[in-house]
């Protein structure tokens, strides 16, 4: 009894806990074991999906929850990819070490650029992040330390078996979901919700707000860099134009916008659609990009909250609820008004 209550206090909407948790667990275990029963092709698709889930979650943490629309997160993919290449190919160190170095480098870079770009708000922030990323691209092209525009082959990645690559991607994807979920259920999440629901009131506590956004930006950036390492273990060569390319931003925007901005399920759904669409149109890269752009525009116009938002609006469906009930929603005035309106109808 007490154990059950404890569980209930951890997860909201206790009554629907059973079925959903079970479904999520089954899906998780089934996909974790994919290399055991799936074809090589299925595994390679699954690998991409989980990496892109991670990218989507982290972009959503910024754009969907923190109000920071960044078109420059690909800079961190570049940092991850290049750190991996330098640490393994140039210095002959382990892949494990490159994860660690990546996290440190990405955190440092994110922290340093946060000073200028956090002075910008709204669309200026968006432009600022993009210019930072383009600057990094140009800088790497002219930087002897990273072999200019030639890039490196990541030889160490050749030896990794597909199953291990898949598992790495699986972990990075699942952890990204858990991480965003936990962040939203934490004090930071509360501050973010307050900011979204009532910007004015939250603004009054400016310093705290700045820190909250900064924390989200740091987490997102470091995690994207780490995801970049996982992605480039699969791609196995780095070049400035590709690693710092705007295509990464396109994919993050697409995944989140299509799936549903500001929802946890959205990026998962978006990543699945994105990867399958890209695969399906693999031989027509131009057409797939055109289609992605057109679909994204259509979704923003017709269903601004994406597929998940539409599902939630129509059927009240959601897999992970980050809303808290009862304890936080006092009987405020608006609530009262809402009730009285309903009664009248």
């Amino acid at each position: 009894m007490t154990a059950k209550r404890a569980l209930h206090s951890l997860v909201p909407n206790g009554k629907s806990l059973g079925v959903k948790t079970f479904a999520v667990l089954v899906a998780a275990v089934a996909s974790a074991l994919l290399p055991l029963y799936g074809s090589d092709y299925a595994v390679s698709i699954g690998l991409l999906i989980f990496s892109y889930i991670s990218l989507g979650q982290m972009w959503n943490l910024l754009a969907g929850y923190s109000g920071l629309v960044s078109l420059g997160q690909q800079a961190f993919i570049g940092i991850g990819a290049y750190t991996l290449a330098k640490v393994t190919t140039v210095y002959g160190q382990s892949i494990a070490l490159s994860f660690f170095v990546t996290a440190v480098c990405a955190a440092a870079f994110a922290f340093v650029i946060s000073f200028p770009i956090f002075k910008l708000s709204g669309v200026y922030f968006t432009i600022g992040t993009w210019i930072v990323s383009e600057s990094a691209l140009v800088f790497f092209r002219n930087w002897k330390f990273v072999n200019f525009d030639a890039g490196y082959n990541i030889v160490a990645a050749y030896k990794i078996p597909m199953g291990a690559l898949y598992l790495g991607s699986f972990v990075i994807g699942v952890v990204s979901v858990a991480l965003v979920f936990l962040i939203l259920r934490s004090k930071i999440g509360l501050a973010l919700m307050a900011m979204r629901d009532n910007p004015g009131a939250a603004e009054a506590r400016g310093v705290y707000l700045y820190r909250t956004k900064l924390v989200c930006f740091l987490i997102s950036s470091v995690y994207i860099a780490v995801t970049g390492v996982v992605l480039y273990l699969n791609i196995a060569y780095v070049k400035p134009g590709a690693t710092f390319g705007i295509d990464w931003a396109v994919s993050m925007v697409f995944i989140v916008v299509i799936g549903g901005i500001g929802t946890i399920e959205g990026p998962i759904l978006g990543a699945v659609i994105y990867v399958i669409l890209r695969q399906y149109l693999y031989n027509f890269p131009g057409i797939s990009m055109i289609l992605l752009g057109a679909v994204a525009v259509t979704v923003i116009l017709l269903a601004p909250k994406g597929i998940m938002g539409a599902l939630h609006g129509r059927f009240g469906f959601e897999l992970f609820s980050v809303r808290r009930t009862a304890a936080f929603d006092g009987p405020d005035r608006e609530e009262g008004a809402r009730i009285s309106v309903k009664q009248r109808r």
Binding site: E334, A337, R338, V341
Partner: protein, 242 residues
Amino acid sequence: MNDNGLLTVESLNVDYGDFRAIHDVSMCFPKGAIISVIGSNGAGKSTLLNAIMGVNKARSGRVFFEGDDITGLRTSSIVAKGISMSPEGSSVFENMSVYENLVLGAFLPGPRKKRDILLERAYELFPPLKEKAKQQATFLSGGQRQMLAIARALMSEPKLLICDEISLGLAPVVVSDIYSRITDVNETGVTVVLVEQEVKRSLDYSDYSYVLVKGRVVMGGLSDELDEKEVKDAYFGINQYA
């Protein structure tokens, strides 16, 4: 009320998200009259006006002007039909001169052709505007700003002029001056709607009055027949209407 209203509102409901701001409001503004809509802060006056002008969308209900259904039309189309509004806080175009503000008032093709005549008339009505014609609107006093907003609204030669909270933050002398000007305007045949918080002045200057409390019409009729004390009681929510 009757069929000879210039503008009639029928069972209008307006929501702000989940919150209903205007409940089943019906009104009739007779042609040639001065009508006041009285209500306290938050009674829904501006919401009502914005719904009439097409700035906000109404949830349900209809608005008729000269017998035409204007519900859901774009604001600029409603203005083209002959309704003009001087908005609350007299939002003039700050970075433009007084002259430019007035010129914009005559933007529609009809008034545009007789812009110079209309400009002369505006300067006659509010002489201070002529002196300040070349100045940026930012540098006007509160009273001059209000004059500019009203003069600008009149530049489109409206049949119906709606003034939202003229007296807000102005000295009583200035308010009286503006009100007497509005009476002059009314005498040229323009129907005027005054939206105010102040009970006595509203009743004194108008032919008909409506009292709005919490988004509902609680009283209405000839201003002379409405008792100031009763209106005030309703207004402050003292009796059953609250």
